[in-house]
């Protein structure tokens, strides 16, 4: 008997295969009785030392990426490893003849249970930290691997949600699809799935846990459901659809270097979002018409001091050269309290997403911004360079930025540097206030690029890093679409252009809606370029406009998604 579980579509495609549960917890077979207390104690000590070394290394490696609160948790875990009270409980168990693993886990569980019994959720959450430390030591005791080993045959990976470090441990050749209990379309599993080009359905909820290991499932990453033990007819149909999907994808890659024109001949620029030199090369190879978003954080993160102007300029030059004369939109440094830099002191904020980030931070550190603009202008001579400012929310900010850029330009000219003659300057639209006042920003920019991840999270008041609400921040929500329409409507006929550089641009269901709303550039993950181009070619502007009109009238994101799915079939 088959049953169908619904979730959110996070990456298109069809897959059929056995479920493999990504489990962090470990081996069922565990010795409970020990040899002798001294031998067991030595085994445990060795395992604790290895776990402590891992934690210290993890803390050092992640220092720049974690919040102070997260770092404190690692620090507390290191203290838990050598907690004298925990060890006293362990000793008592060892003396009674328990194995190292049994004694350790019993003591860990006793403390976890005590913490769970406290009324304050802050303290209850620490139970998970103790259990996490417990499992880390256990892995060393029982000789288990750091991450669960994948089976040899390809599988559908099921998990509550995946952490970035965990997605790295999976072998992409053996992943048919991802299905997760929590998360949203911008969760790590979803992002990885799109990068690998495999289907994903997220936010399925606790029902997912009812699927046993090895059960055969059918995953539809476009409609957003999982069918457990599908009937033979359903499998046959799905296999046929999968064959068509794979064939279409192969065809899309073959013609990816051609421009993407709608059936009635309107060209849409399909660009790539890149964050490193390797990404830029991949974008070029996959047929991106341009770079729609170069994230420059890679130049600043993971180092003790800021780069020099010469270093920065050389890297920009190399990137511009790698794109062979195609336009490159460079976003100025976009950091904030959620991703602090070691050499840029930032006081902790209760709400980093609503705090000092993007250009708000740049204004507090004008030297850093000045150097970045100098490096860009120096590198950009002879290339179609476009500079973009992130997180602009008021007109006053963009006026200040333009004046600042002019100052930098005159200073360089006075020093005798040549300047890029056809520089374009634009801003990201991530804040609803900026979208609503597009006409007031227009005189100051050559283009707008809409960051739909942030625009959706700010419009729907849903933190996209919080799995409990991330599902609400769907860029296809009609409220977000209306804001996008406001930007395109105000820009029409001015000779300026509007692009989208959020995850939404690479969502094949969103593509016709966005171009129908008047978006002229879609900037996506490099691997998504061929399929996005293929999707553009399937529609006429007239059809896309009619669809977009209809989408604007819907009441929620789900209605928009089913509207597009129907229109395509």
């Amino acid at each position: 008997m088959s049953c169908r579980l619904r979730g959110l579509p996070a990456s298109p495609g069809i897959a059929i295969g056995p479920i493999w549960w990504f489990r962090r917890a470990l081996p069922a077979a565990m010795r409970t009785r020990g040899e002798d207390a001294a031998a067991e104690r030595m085994r445990l000590q060795a395992a604790q030392e290895r776990a402590a070394a891992e934690l210290a290394a993890l803390r050092a490696a992640q220092r720049d990426r974690l919040s102070p609160e997260e770092l404190a948790i690692f620090e507390a875990q290191e203290l838990m490893l050598r907690d004298p009270e925990l060890m006293a409980t362990v000793e008592a168990e060892l003396a009674a003849g328990a194995s190292a693993e049994a004694a350790w886990m019993k003591a860990v569980e006793a403390f976890a249970a005590q913490l769970m019994a406290l009324p304050d959720p802050y303290f209850q959450a620490r139970a998970a930290d103790v259990r996490d430390v417990g499992n880390r030591v256990l892995r060393h005791l029982v000789g288990g691997l750091e991450a669960p080993a994948m089976p040899d045959e390809p599988v559908v990976v099921a998990a509550d949600d995946l952490l970035p470090s965990e997605t790295v441990s999976l072998d992409p050749r053996r992943v048919l699809a991802f299905v997760t209990e929590g998360g949203g379309p911008t969760a790590h599993a979803a992002i990885l799935a799109r990068r690998l080009g495999v289907p994903a359905v997220v936010a399925i909820g606790p029902d997912l846990r009812t699927i046993p290991e090895g059960a055969r499932v059918l995953v539809d990453g476009e409609a957003g459901w999982v069918e457990v033990e599908p009937g033979s007819e359903a499998v046959r149909q799905a296999q046929a659809r999968r064959a068509v999907w794979l064939q279409e994808r192969a065809h899309a890659e073959a013609v990816a270097h051609e421009p993407a024109r709608t059936r009635d001949g309107v060209q849409i620029e399909v660009a790539a979002n890149v964050g490193s030199m390797e990404d830029a090369r991949e974008a070029f190879q996959k047929g991106a018409d341009s770079i729609g978003l170069l994230r420059t954080e890679f130049l600043y993160l993971g180092r003790a001091a800021a780069p020099t102007e010469e270093e920065e300029s050389a890297i920009y030059r190399a990137l511009l050269e790698a794109m062979g004369g195609k336009p490159v939109v460079v976003r100025t440094l976009d950091v904030g309290g959620d991703k602090p830099l070691p050499y840029l002191p930032m006081p902790p904020e209760a709400n980093p997403f609503l705090g000092v980030r993007g250009v708000r931070l740049s204004r507090q550190h004008p030297d850093l911004l000045r150097q970045q603009l100098r490096a860009l202008l120096r590198a950009g001579v002879g290339f179609p360079l476009r500079i973009m400012f992130p997180m602009v929310s008021t007109v006053e900010e963009i006026r200040w930025l333009r004046a600042f850029l002019e100052e930098v330009r005159s200073a360089l000219a006075a020093e005798g540097f040549p300047l890029p003659p056809d520089l374009q300057v634009g801003m990201m639209v991530e804040v609803p206030a900026a979208a609503l006042l597009t006409e007031h920003f227009l005189p100051w920019v050559d283009f707008f690029s809409i960051g739909t991840n942030d625009l959706a999270q700010y419009t729907l008041a849903a933190d996209r890093t919080n799995p409990a609400v991330a599902g609400l921040a769907d860029g296809l929500h009609p409220a977000v679409l209306r804001l996008i329409r406001h930007v395109t409507a105000a820009t029409e006929g001015t000779g300026k252009w509007v692009g989208v550089c959020g995850e939404l641009a690479g969502d094949l269901l969103a593509v016709p809606v966005l171009i129908g709303l008047g978006v002229q550039e879609l900037s996506v993950n490099p691997v998504r370029v061929p399929e996005v181009k293929a999707t553009v070619r399937r529609w006429s502007m007239a059809e896309a406009r009619a669809l977009a009109e209809e989408a604007l009238r819907q009441a929620d994101a789900a209605a928009v998604r089913s509207l597009v799915a129907e229109a395509r079939s």
């Binding site: 609160e69 404190a72 004298p84 403390f111 802050y122 620490r126």
Partner: protein, 93 residues
């Protein structure tokens, strides 16, 4: 034996970073040090054990009692008192 009674005025109480700092400070001394949550009426626990300190469930506004016995008991009490009164170095509490 030396003893001190204090109110936790930092934002999160004896949790996460404050708990770690508290335990690390206590561990610097040779004296036996215990701490109990007066507000919740818990028995005293080992102040050098982070798990024990966490199980006090000491939140913002709770009153804790620290006791030290040993060769450096006065210094230990002074150091822990200073740490709690500095709100564990948190800005603005």
């Amino acid at each position: 034996m030396q003893q001190v009674t204090l109110t936790l005025t930092n934002a999160v109480g004896l949790h996460a970073r404050p708990a770690a700092l508290f335990v690390q400070t206590a561990a610097r001394f040779r004296s036996n040090i215990t701490v109990r949550n007066v507000t919740r009426g818990t028995p005293p626990v080992n102040a050098k054990a982070i798990l024990a300190v966490l199980t006090l469930g000491a939140e913002h506004g709770h009153v804790i009692e620290i006791a030290a016995e040993g060769p450096d008991e006065a210094d230990a009490i002074a150091a822990l008192k200073a740490l709690v009164e500095s709100r564990f170095g948190e800005d603005g509490g």
